[in-house]
Symmetry: C2
């Protein structure tokens, strides 16, 4: 019922019965409970030709607050109070400095505490998007630059704040945000998050795909050119060596022809996307990262490379689309909110 | 209930009630109906410490026949009568010669007719695995070497034989067969079908993934080496130019060092698989094709290439596995059977 109202506002009880295939009596009972909890409200009177007009129902999007945390920025940890419609109500942040390990965990705890203090509605839960590999228990298995290895972040924060806590990889939260709050999209979607590292978040047939070891979308170290620049990982020509933010900024600073650098960066992403498009037949690719780097030249070069390297019928001009997210820098933050909504209310 | 008995034979009514979360009364009713239809039988008496011993139940695997058709071989169309446990009861085949278009459709119809004549049990349905892109209506959108474009194969055969018909791309039926009748596997699985072309069948989180345009797994024209051999499609260095059966046989026939040719072929597949493993975090890769070509040197080269071209933690030795299918040449045929089972009975 909540999922129907989240996706389609202004449904009547009769609409809900049809959509959910539950009996009108059950729907009335459920809707009554949701209204009592303040989650749902009647939104005026709808039109009806004869008899009692149906009452359109709506999710009360500011009846609960979500505490959302984005740890994907190297300089600062960011947080926000967000309502159920994805509206940011209040922001907090804390400089990370060079904090790693337990110190970084402590900073996250303090940030959540400050953000919770700014909530004015019952808090549905806390969501965190973090770099690295995160398992089903919300333990950060590996986040190299934070020096986190097997850090039970969910458990630590749940104990401290006595609220539901959900933790997910930053690219995987980004794809949730794009699906729920971004441009209208299909059920197959790939968000490429370009930051200090490169991660992809995948929605496959309407469901987040995390992979066998929660490492799906770890595309940063696919080799795109064996003769490419050396990478931090010890190999040459990994995708990250071309398009990770520090690497790309540095290449642009030293380049005689910056447009050439951008085009090469876009091509290197295109090599990986050509494989992704061929394997998954995915049409919707969303870029999330600094807009000065991921500019039109970059986007065009990536798209042309996909076309040049796949079967013509897969990537013909009207099929594959690469676009920027309209959610800007808030994509991970909002995704952390969707994570809470989907886990606590079953809506997304 | 059928799905539980398909996966776990010898369950009692009480086991089924627990597994399906249905009431014992509903289970008794359902099981009664299935026994009346001959689909389920009691399999002797089970042990019980006190009271009436529970009756283990089983799917009667030879109570229905499936008519399965494999169109993926260039020389011959093959068919079989298969029981619900994947046992081949009878085989038929017809030389394709150079039949294409309507002539090829006519051959398929004749083959099905001959196969139906050999069934001795009620026929649950007809399943076909075909090369090319197949849409949700069972229309072959494009199968180049058969010169089929928008051929409504499912509709044509359903009309002619008045039975349920299901049509799917050959690599996609192969992954169904491997999941249901192959070695024990997880819920993420990729079958690489090496034949006149190269196709991959994908199981993602336990469900077949077909893609936005039913073209998922069309990996044959991903470019793996821009300086590679010319490909039929007009580009250079596509995966098919290295490992499609005619191309690989021809390269081996002319090679001074055949082991080198096999290793290069394996490497070219490894380049594509490195991307697949990184994007999907998939651990189980199954090879289906001529075993003299896809030998140990080929398999090893592919695996080494994956390791060399991905993040170490993704592809460490105990994670990614490449193996041959134990189903041999019958993989598409059996997959066509699973297609019927899953569509008609909801089991797989």
């Amino acid at each position: 019922v909540l999922q129907s109202l989240f996706r389609f506002p202004d449904l009547s009880r009769a609409d809900l019965a049809r959509l959910t295939e539950l009996t009108p009596a059950t729907i009335s009972q459920l809707v009554g409970e949701l209204i009592d909890e303040g989650l749902v409200e009647a939104a005026g009177r709808g039109p009806a030709k004869v008899g009692k007009p149906p009452t359109p129902l709506r999710l009360v999007s500011d009846s609960r607050h979500l505490v959302c945390v984005d740890l994907s920025d190297t300089d600062a940890f960011r947080a926000a109070v967000v309502d159920m419609a994805g509206k940011v109500v209040h922001r907090e942040s804390v400089d990370r400095g060079d904090a790693t390990g337990e110190h970084a965990v402590e900073l996250v705890g303090g940030l959540i505490q400050a953000t919770l203090a700014a909530t004015t509605k019952p808090v549905l839960g806390i969501g965190l998007g973090t770099p690295g590999v995160v398992d089903a228990a919300g333990t950060v298995v590996e986040a190299v630059y934070l020096d986190w290895f097997d850090v039970p972040l969910r458990q630590l924060m749940a104990r401290r704040f006595d609220l539901p806590v959900h933790v997910c990889n930053d690219a995987n939260t980004a794809v949730l945000a794009e699906y729920s709050f971004g441009e209208e999209t299909g059920t197959n979607l790939m968000v490429i998050k370009v930051g200090p590292g490169i991660g992809a978040g995948l929605l496959v047939d309407g469901r987040p795909h995390l992979g066998e070891n929660f490492s799906a979308g770890e595309i940063g170290h696919i080799i795109v050119d064996e003769d490419g620049p050396p990478c931090r990982c010890g190999k040459r020509g990994c995708l990250e060596s071309f398009i990770a933010v520090p690497e790309l900024r540095s290449a642009l600073a030293h380049a005689a022809d910056p447009q050439q650098v951008r085009a090469e960066a876009g091509q290197s992403l295109g090599v990986v996307l050509a494989a992704a498009v061929s394997i998954l037949d995915i049409h919707e690719i969303v870029l999330a990262g600094p807009s000065d780097l991921l500019d039109e030249a970059f986007r065009e070069a990536a798209l042309e490379t996909i076309r040049a390297r796949t079967l013509a019928s897969l990537s013909r001009s009207d099929a594959v689309r690469i676009r920027h997210s309209t959610l800007g820098d808030d994509i991970v933050l909002l995704g952390a909110g969707v994570l809470v909504l989907s886990q606590e209310l079953g809506v997304a």
